[in-house]
Symmetry: C2
Subunit: 470 residues, 2 copies
């Protein structure tokens, strides 16, 4: 299969050859992946390629990415750089990014160095890998690097395509059709054509449906509708994704001043939503940006700093406990109940925190005052604290035959659940107020509070009423 990638006709003929395959299930994909792996191991990489070359590029990509390093390199060489670049462009941006990361900078440079600069740029744009810049630079194509670096990652500028269908406000449906034809393969991605004034102002849009039903002689003015939202190149990807979801948009135009300069397609917006969600979940656990099958060193780099910070906060808790050494010496059984007080507070705080962080991210808190949310969570903390306090007191009394211990534990539990509710809501709301993403560091602050105050309450009350429990 010899093709000259500089000739667009050839590329299209080639793409046509393997287009429109059927979806397969995750189980089927896993099965094919293990067959491919065995064939490559046995030196039969041509047969392995035959097995996957008629699959959807999305499946082709995830199967190639799943191979161990050596087999992956073999397969990429068998597939030819054009096919790999094409595959990455056909995949959704999230998965393309994952596959690109698995390929590594060196293999990507090899692949992209052999395709047309425009294709290299389009492929690179799909890959929000840690350092695509490195790849861009090693390609030795200055204009690719320049265009690639023109926009910050995770902004509208980095998500947009700049080749888009437009028609003049005074034009006819015929002209709109012309501008669609001119897009060639790309045209299938668009749901709207933009209607622009003489100065490049987007004055409206025509849906593909309305164009499909219009005669060639229909003035575009009569089938245009207004544009709900526009963004600029600096608008964060998360805000673009929010606009898509909130207003049910299929694509969002990007403007510079009033001039239309690009459009963010539906698949990029959806990927921005998926990435935002992944980042959020991971940030609460402080593993943001990591993948389960990336290099060990990157996992260590992501997790170890956070584990070390957390060590500091656990020593704060330890120092709190150490303050009460003499009390513990008198009633050593108190030590057994430390994990009960801290554990419940941590869980309660995390429940509140998760709800608030998610609601903030989805833009659900419009008109819902911070004071109302805080009050609500504090009340819930009291309700839960009363129930858990009574329960824990009864268990402790039955287990240790110590009424005083039970009472102290119950009161401490009630107090810590109130703290958990208030802090669990207060920390993310405060972080949002000062402009910090609450997903990033709320969890550590909240559990530090519930640990330290939980121990202070429990051991403090125990010290004060030591005659009751000793």
């Amino acid at each position: 299969m010899e093709i000259d990638p500089r000739n667009p006709e050839n590329v299209r003929a080639f793409e046509g050859d393997i287009q429109q395959p059927q979806a397969i299930s995750l189980d089927e994909a896993a099965e094919i992946a293990s067959e491919v792996q065995e064939l490559v191991k046995a030196g039969r990489e041509r047969s392995a390629w035959e097995l996957i070359r008629r699959l959807h590029p999305a499946d082709m990509g995830s199967i190639v990415a799943s191979l161990p390093r050596a087999s992956r390199e073999t397969m990429v060489r068998v597939m030819s750089p054009e096919t790999v670049a094409w595959m990455l462009r056909q995949m959704n941006p999230v998965e393309a990014g994952r596959v690109g990361t698995r390929l590594g900078a060196q293999m990507l440079t090899f692949v992209l160095g052999q395709v047309h600069p425009n294709q290299a740029l389009a492929t690179l744009r799909r890959i929000p890998m840690p350092r695509p810049q490195k790849v861009a630079e090693s390609l030795g194509q200055p204009q690719v690097v320049e265009e690639f670096l023109a926009h910050e990652p995770d902004t509208a500028g980095s998500l947009m395509v700049t080749q888009l269908p437009m028609v003049a406000i005074g034009g006819l449906a015929e002209g709109a059709r012309e501008s669609m034809r001119a897009l060639e393969e790309m045209r299938q991605k668009f749901t709207h054509i933009y209607v622009v004034g003489d100065d490049g102002d987007p004055g409206g849009q025509i849906s593909m449906v309305d164009l499909a039903l219009a005669d060639d002689a229909t003035p575009v003015r009569s089938i245009a509708s207004s544009i709900v939202a526009t963004v600029t190149v600096d608008t964060p990807a998360e805000e673009c994704a929010r606009l898509q979801r909130h207003y049910n948009l299929t694509q969002i135009p990007v403007v510079d001043g009033h001039r239309l300069i690009g459009v963010i397609l539906s698949e990029s917006l959806l990927s921005a939503t998926v990435e935002q969600n992944t980042r959020q979940m991971q940030q609460v656990a402080n593993v943001a940006g990591e993948t389960v099958d990336g290099p060990l060193s990157s996992s260590v780099r992501t997790r170890l700093p956070w584990l070390t910070v957390n060590l500091g906060t656990t020593f704060l808790a330890a120092a709190t406990v150490a303050l009460f050494e003499s009390t513990l010496t008198q009633v050593v059984v108190l030590a057994a109940f430390l994990p009960v007080v801290a554990g419940q507070g941590g869980i309660g705080g995390t429940q509140t925190l998760t709800l608030i962080v998610r609601a903030i991210a989805l833009g659900e808190l419009v008109g819902v005052g911070a004071r109302r949310l805080l009050a609500r969570e504090a009340v819930l903390g009291i309700l839960h604290g009363v129930w858990l306090g009574v329960l824990v007191a009864v268990i402790a009394i039955l287990w240790k035959q110590n009424l005083g211990l039970g009472l102290v534990l119950g009161v401490a539990m009630l107090g810590n659940m109130m703290i958990a509710g208030s802090v669990g809501a207060g920390v993310p709301l405060f972080l949002r107020r000062i402009g910090v993403d609450p997903a990033v560091s709320s969890a550590v602050v909240v559990t530090t509070f519930t640990d330290v105050f939980g121990f202070l309450l429990f051991l403090g009350i125990a010290s004060a009423s030591i005659t009751l429990i000793a």
Copy 2:
């Protein structure tokens, strides 16, 4: 504004009156919400309605939902049932569900009881609230209840629309255009027309782009392409959302046997992705299905059972500590280090767990064997354990001037980080293997393991080497 909702012409004229508004920012929405609230409080609900009636229904909905209960009821009465039902239908399904939940069963019944049954059904379908069935039943319209109950929630059947454009395989582009025109307002939602055989088999699809560029006399066969994926009414919503993301699909046809019976639109698929993500984040914290501004009783119902279960697991940890009462009596300072060992293990386990749960949910583990993931996380646990073990030993030695204590703590830390890595990966992978959603209960199992084994290791080693540290 008197309209007869039974007359579709009137409904359309009315909808046209307030369509195509511009997007507003979250801050602007919050500002308008507080103005509306003040106007309603002052008895000026008509002015409040004037303030929001030209907004996008998505903003109208979130502002109405943000009002306190009494003002919300006043606004809904001012808005007329038709407008509220229309607003809910225009919103994305996630937000419509949230607003519907805020309105409550009684107000929804009032609203939907006064619109056309088809509109009531379409509106109800948008509201995956806890008990829409109750609303459906109290409407007193048997066919609405029947159709509503025909499909399980969170399946393709509950997401699909059944009114869709089709054209016979032998037809012309002209016929495809006819079928689009017949859809009236709904038609803007479609990106493809289905090509069906004599038996209702979907044989292919025509993109709106290709239709827009085709002459009326073009045979549909020549512009049809194959369908990548179909689902059945029972396919889970999450799998439909995965197909959309993985294959970059805009809509997915639903088949019964081979017959085409419906289609899931892009906005419903996107909402399924958003809901899956919210559920996942919330399930890890065991607050699934809750909203930050719902009734207190529903929050208590969601969180308290889980807090109670967790109390059981913290008592397991307490019992483990209690086993070593005599050791603690001899070296009471050991108690201060309990939160250090347990805290680090819990954090390490949660990091691993979060990554694996998310990778499973995104279908990223194709061809990545469970054994490889387990081994990887165990190795990371050792790496992190060595670093944290040395660090914690040094701190303990410097702080407490006790070499033995430092050594015991360091070794326990290393051991617990290994447990954290293996259990954090093993539990979700095992749950997936036996067909249980790993997001639901992994977190409690993992932290119970790290608490109990952390204490066993730390206090066990301390007991065995008590002469070193006492």
